[in-house]
C-alpha cells in the first residue's frame, strides 16, 4: 500500500511546493507516496474535501506559517484543519522556514509561528515533528526525508528538530570560495568569481546549517558559488535585516563562524591577513572574448 501523505499550506508563497517539483526522484517517490491533497499535483481530494476528511494519514506535510484565525483553506479555517489533521498523522513534516519557525511573513504578522517553533523557541512538544527549513527547502531535503519515512525509518534530529544529516553541515562547507575565506580575501564587489562574501557582502553561510554546497541546488550550483551571499534561510532568525552587508564592529564581523570562539577566529585572521597570496589576489582565470567568431 502506498504511504498516505497530505500537503497542507498555511501562510506561504508556494515556494516549497515548487521546489519539491524539482526533486529528481519525484516519479519514484510518487510511486510510493500518494498525496491525498497537494497544492500543485493532481490529487484525490479537493481542498474543500478536507473539511470532512477523517482518515488516518502517514505524513502530514505543512508548508507555510501557522495562523490561528482568519485564514481559510477551502471554506474552513486553516487552523481547524491543521488541528484535526495533526492528530491523524503519524509524522508531521514542516517544509520551509515558514512552517519550521514562522519565516518571512512573520515579519508582518508577529503572531505567525511554525508548527513547533516560533523563531528558535519551542512552542509545542511534538514527538513526530521533522523540520525541513529553507526558503525554500531544497527538493532533495523534502524528497529524501519523505522517502525515508515511507520506509519506516526516521532521521536523527538536531536541537531544532531538523535532520542532523542535512543541517549539521554549514552552508559554507563546500563553497568554491573557501580558499578566499581561509586567506581572508574578500570579494570587492558582486559579480566576481574571486573573493569571499563573508567580510562585506553579508554571507551567513559560516553560521547557517545546510548542505547546499554539498548537494548543490538544481544539481548545478549554489547561491554562494554563484556569488550571492547566503541569507541564512534555514535558521530561526531568518530573515534578518541588511542581508547584503556584513555587520561589523570596528571591522570585525559581528557573528563568528559556528562554534568558533572570537579569539581563535581573530588570531587566525590576523595571521592569514599577514600574507598576501598572489594567486588569490589575482583574477582566477583569464577572460576570453567568448564565441563571437562562431556566429559570423
Amino acid at each position: 500500500m502506498k504511504t498516505k501523505a497530505l500537503w497542507l499550506q498555511g501562510v506561504s508563497c508556494n515556494g516549497n511546493s515548487h521546489s519539491f517539483l524539482n526533486y529528481e526522484g519525484l516519479r519514484e517517490l510518487l510511486s510510493k507516496v500518494e498525496f491525498l491533497y497537494h497544492p500543485l499535483l493532481p490529487s484525490r481530494l479537493r481542498i474543500e474535501d478536507l473539511a470532512d476528511f477523517t482518515e488516518d494519514i502517514d505524513i502530514l506535510v505543512i508548508e507555510g506559517a501557522i495562523k490561528k484565525e482568519g485564514f481559510l483553506r477551502g471554506k474552513k479555517e486553516f487552523f481547524r484543519l491543521f488541528q484535526k489533521l495533526k492528530k491523524k498523522a503519524k509524522y508531521i513534516v514542516a517544509v520551509g522556514n515558514c512552517a519550521s519557525f514562522g519565516g518571512v511573513f512573520k515579519e508582518y504578522e508577529a503572531d505567525l509561528t511554525g508548527v513547533g517553533y516560533s523563531k528558535g523557541e519551542k512552542i509545542a512538544d511534538f514527538e513526530n515533528l521533522i523540520n525541513v527549513p529553507g526558503c525554500p527547502a531544497h527538493p532533495e531535503w523534502i524528497g529524501s526525508v519523505l522517502s525515508l519515512l515511507c520506509e519506516g525509518c526516521e532521521p536523527e534530529l538536531d536541537e531544532l528538530s531538523r535532520p542532523a544529516e542535512i543541517y549539521s553541515y554549514t552552508v559554507h562547507a563546500g563553497c568554491l570560495r573557501n580558499e578566499y575565506f581561509e586567506w581572508k580575501v574578500d570579494s570587492a564587489t558582486f559579480g566576481s568569481k574571486e573573493g569571499c562574501l563573508f567580510y562585506q557582502q553579508g554571507c551567513q553561510a559560516p553560521y547557517t546549517g545546510g548542505n547546499c554546497n554539498k548537494i548543490l541546488w538544481n544539481g548545478v550550483s549554489s547561491k554562494t558559488r554563484a556569488g550571492m551571499p547566503c541569507i541564512g534561510c534555514t535558521e530561526p532568525g531568518f530573515p534578518s535585516r541588511d542581508l547584503f552587508k556584513t555587520k561589523t564592529y570596528m571591522g570585525i564581523p559581528a557573528r563568528m563562524p559556528k562554534g568558533v570562539p572570537k579569539r581563535a577566529y581573530l588570531t587566525l585572521t590576523g595571521v592569514a591577513k599577514s600574507f598576501k597570496i598572489d594567486r588569490l589576489n589575482n583574477p582566477l582565470m583569464p577572460k576570453g572574448p567568448g564565441c563571437e567568431k562562431e556566429e559570423s
Partner: protein, 199 residues
C-alpha cells in the same frame, strides 16, 4: 596553563637576558656570544635554543606580545565599562614601560624600527597577534556595547597605540617632566573621548 618545562624556563631566561642587554647596549652591538656569556652558558648550548640571532629576535617580539596580550586579556574578561578598560590598558602599558622598560623598548626601537629583520616569519600580524587579537576584542566589544564609535580597526588602533608609544618614547628621551603614571588619567580620558560613540 600548564607549568613551563625546564627547557622552556631556560628559554625565558635567555630571552629576558637578551632583552636586558639589547636595551642597554643596543640590538646590533650585542652578539649571541655576549648573551651566552652573561648567562654562563656555552654559545653552542645557546644555539640549541635559538638557531640564530634573527630567530631570537622574532621569538622575542612574540614573547613580548604574549606578555602584554595576557594582561589585556585579563582586562577584557572583566565585567567593567569600556572607559575603565581603557584606563586599565593604559596602566598596564605604562607599568610595563616602568617595570620592564626593556620590553617596550624592544618593541619600539627594534621591532618597529628594523622591519627588515622581521620580514620573514613575522609578516604582518604574525608575531604580534596575541597582543593585537586582544586589542581587537577590546574594540569589538566596545562597539558592540555602543560605548565606542564604529570605525576602521586601524584608525582606532593607531590612535590608541601610537599615543601610548609616543608617550613612552618621550619619556625615554627625557622630555617628560613627570612620571608616566602621572599622565595615566588624562591620557585615558583623551583616548576615551576620541573613540567613544557620539550619543
Amino acid at each position: 596553563m600548564s607549568k613551563p618545562t625546564k627547557k622552556e624556563q631556560r628559554k625565558i631566561e635567555i630571552m629576558d637576558t637578551a632583552l636586558r642587554l639589547f636595551s642597554k647596549e643596543g640590538f646590533f652591538a650585542v652578539t649571541i656570544a655576549d648573551i651566552a656569556k652573561e648567562l654562563n652558558m656555552s654559545v653552542g648550548n645557546l644555539y640549541n635554543y635559538f638557531s640564530s640571532k634573527e630567530a631570537l629576535a622574532k621569538e622575542l617580539i612574540f614573547y613580548i606580545s604574549k606578555i602584554l596580550g595576557t594582561k589585556i586579556r585579563e582586562i577584557n574578561m572583566m565585567d567593567i565599562k569600556t572607559k575603565e578598560k581603557i584606563e586599565k590598558i593604559v596602566e598596564v602599558y605604562f607599568n610595563t614601560a616602568i617595570e620592564r622598560p626593556e620590553l617596550i623598548d624592544y618593541f619600539l626601537r627594534v621591532y618597529l624600527s628594523h622591519k627588515e629583520i622581521f620580514k620573514e616569519g613575522c609578516e604582518g600580524m604574525i608575531c604580534v597577534s596575541p597582543f593585537v587579537t586582544e586589542i581587537m576584542i577590546f574594540f569589538e566589544e566596545g562597539v558592540r556595547n555602543s560605548e565606542l564609535r564604529d570605525q576602521d580597526f586601524f584608525t582606532a588602533f593607531g590612535l590608541f597605540m601610537g599615543y601610548l608609544g609616543g608617550m613612552v618614547y618621550l619619556k625615554g628621551e627625557g622630555m617628560l617632566p613627570n612620571d608616566l603614571k602621572f599622565y595615566t588619567r588624562s591620557i585615558s580620558e583623551n583616548i576615551y573621548r576620541a573613540l567613544k560613540s557620539e550619543d
